[in-house]
């Protein structure tokens, strides 16, 4: 189960994820964001309630990061220690801006 909440203010979009970002739910996030990023200059992923991320979830974050490298910037906030460790092991901590 993944819950996706989006708060847009002008060209800033906050995406709040809760639950699990895995093989089953990653396509859901991908399609939610597909058309939502066009006008976005600043993207914030709030992961405070994200319990779990697998490589399928990392793949979505990577492809969104690539889009945002062209359009503006992206930050990841409030990730748990467990999720942060996954970012470390996979080198994602160097790719993403983690706050």
């Amino acid at each position: 189960m993944l819950n996706i909440e989006k708060n847009a203010v002008a060209d800033k979009l906050e995406v709040i994820l809760s639950g699990r970002l895995d093989t089953a739910t990653a396509p859901q996030l991908e399609s939610e964001l597909k058309d939502a990023l066009n006008e976005v200059k600043e993207l914030v992923f709030n992961l405070a309630d994200l319990e779990y991320i697998s490589s399928a979830g990392l793949r979505v974050l990577l492809s969104v990061q690539k889009v945002m490298n062209k359009n503006g910037n992206m930050v990841v906030t409030n990730a748990s220690d467990e999720v942060k460790e996954i970012f470390e092991v996979t080198g994602f901590s160097d790719i993403l801006t983690i706050e």
Partner: protein
Amino acid sequence: MSDIIIKHELEIEALTDNLQSVIDFVEENLELTACSMKIKMQIDIAVEELFVNIAHYAYTPATGKAIITIEIDNDNKEVSITFTDSGIPFNPLEKEDPDVSLSAEERKIGGLGIYMVKKSMDKVRYAYEDGKNKLTITKKV
């Protein structure tokens, strides 16, 4: 002392739609150990990566079974999980590790899953026996 080893097995159609059932099976068994949230998450990730690999590649374009065997050794505080399939012989451990130092632009989308498994588990073994792929992960809990 073999009597303190708990062993459970799940035989299931290797389809990504069955991932939740596999995770549930593993989590139920992990509740028999004193493992931390962090280790539970690492094991969950490894299970997802390995089961999804079988679902995607082992029998394509047909489908087939996967057998997941979990062994809990509470004496040595160790959990082993074996994934068995009768599909195409394939050793995922031979796959080259992704370069995790590359930038977002340079990174390829694939290859991360098995790398995460290798990094997070204490032991990962592959064998091809009796026409079956057998991949075993072991983790101290």
